[in-house]
């Protein structure tokens, strides 16, 4: 059995760090070699940096990493075009460069399986009636599925009787929403959307229109970046307490993830800590010399994942800042590394899904 199979076979968050680290290192050694041998631009980068690929690495911090930004500037894949099943793009606006991530069948299957294992470990295996705080027009244009659309489709596997709660102009479908809650409100409802959109188009709209539901058994999952909300002074804490006091929703989970490593998502636990799943790890590095920082110190986040088999995205330097809180010791009981995100590095070009949307709207308003 390959190390990746062991990581999939074990229950999520059940493997103590020392053991998990060994499995990840073994898998990352072979992945680094595979991508080096099959992706010429990746080989060039490592060769130019004088990195010896054949040296077997013993620690997870020993692997070379490339900036996520590289996927915006050139086509980087480790498979022939004929094996490309689909290309994921980041949710950039026209003014931004867009990442293009080529997936083959194997990577795509790993991504979906990983997502299912992570999410079901939080919400269970039963599909729940689901409200998606977005418009279904985003998934109808199949030729240009971006990260936002792919996120919605990926998460919709956990629900049934899906209601896309916004129309194409981002107006809340008030009547449909009320009808849905009347019909399913006695059971847990799964609500998913991008952070900013949930706040702006769901919570604020419901409040403004005096639409009130009491859905204490429901589960809300959200992602996509805090930049726009921080500008209007809405922290994660404010977000959670506002939604809880208005709708009674107690189970609210944020997650951190990126289109360059779909499937490897970092879910927030009941204590507000982000957790590394079985098949991924994060390392905090110093901005100046890229040295690994000790727990508690703020730095730039490197993410490692064993899922990318079709492009060299197994070890990436993000543009996000965070710090590690600890390992194997979160009071929620989940094993592995747990951490917090502080924001983006200054002048980072990329933004989260929900922030991009906000920006588009703002630009349109300015133009109008």
């Amino acid at each position: 059995m390959q190390p990746i199979d062991k990581l999939f076979q074990a229950e999520q968050y059940s493997i103590p760090q020392v053991k998990r680290d060994k499995l990840l290192v073994a898998e990352l050694n072979s992945l680094t070699k595979f991508h080096y041998n099959n992706c010429p631009p990746y080989k060039n980068i490592l060769d130019n940096l004088g990195i010896k690929v054949n040296r077997r690495r013993l620690n997870i911090s020993d692997f070379p990493f490339i900036p996520v930004r590289l996927f915006k500037t050139q086509k980087i894949q480790s498979i022939p075009d004929s094996d490309v099943l689909k290309v994921l793009t980041s949710s950039g606006t026209t003014s931004q460069a867009v990442s293009r991530i080529a997936l083959n069948r194997e990577t795509s299957i790993y991504q979906v399986k990983a997502l299912v294992q992570i999410i079901t470990s939080f919400i269970g295996h039963k599909r729940l009636p689901m409200i998606i705080i977005d418009t279904d027009t985003i998934i109808k244009n199949k030729s240009s599925m971006n990260a936002r659309g792919a996120g919605l489709v990926g998460l919709s596997n956990f629900g049934r009787n899906h209601l896309y709660a916004l129309d194409e102009n981002m107006n809340l479908k008030k009547d449909e929403l009320t009808e849905f809650v009347n019909k399913f409100g006695n059971e847990p409802i799964l609500i998913f959307g991008f952070t900013y959109m949930i706040w702006q188009y769901f919570y604020e709209e419901c409040k403004k229109n005096n639409i009130k539901f009491d859905i204490p058994n429901s589960i809300l999952i959200h992602s996509g970046g805090w930049k726009k909300l921080i500008e209007i002074s809405v922290s994660n804490k404010v977000f959670k307490s506002s939604l809880e006091s208005y709708f009674g929703i107690k189970r609210i989970y944020n997650f951190y993830g990126m289109v360059e490593q779909v499937g490897s998502i970092y879910m927030e636990c009941e204590y507000g800590h982000l957790h590394t799943p079985n098949f991924a790890e994060i390392i905090i590095r110093d901005y100046h010399d890229w040295k690994v920082l000790p727990y508690g110190e703020k730095g730039i986040i490197q993410t490692l994942s064993v899922l990318p088999r079709s492009y060299p995205g197994h070890s990436l330097l993000t543009e996000d800042i965070g710090h590690v809180l600890g390992v194997d010791s979160c009071p929620c009981g989940r094993k592995g590394t747990y951490f917090l995100i502080e924001g983006r590095i200054a002048k980072a070009e990329i933004r989260g899904c929900s922030d991009t949307h906000a920006e588009t709207v703002n630009n349109m308003e300015l133009a109008g």
Binding site: V116, H125, M145, V153, H162
Partner: protein, 78 residues
Amino acid sequence: MSNLDKLHAAFVEALDVDPSGITDSYSYGDDKWDSVAHMALVVSIEAQFDIMMETDDVIDLSSVGKAKEILAKYGIIV
């Protein structure tokens, strides 16, 4: 309508495919069966057989042959 007919009807309705193309090997990723259509397919199959699949089965549903195996778990022999 036999269970096989019902299964074929679910695929035709959800994916708008020609019935002749619905062999056991017809798989996710093949013509017309993408991630968005997949949700429609799940809805169709559930309606045809009056069942509610678990998340893991929704994900495992990767070919017509696999659909038959999954239906067997819900007591439906195709």
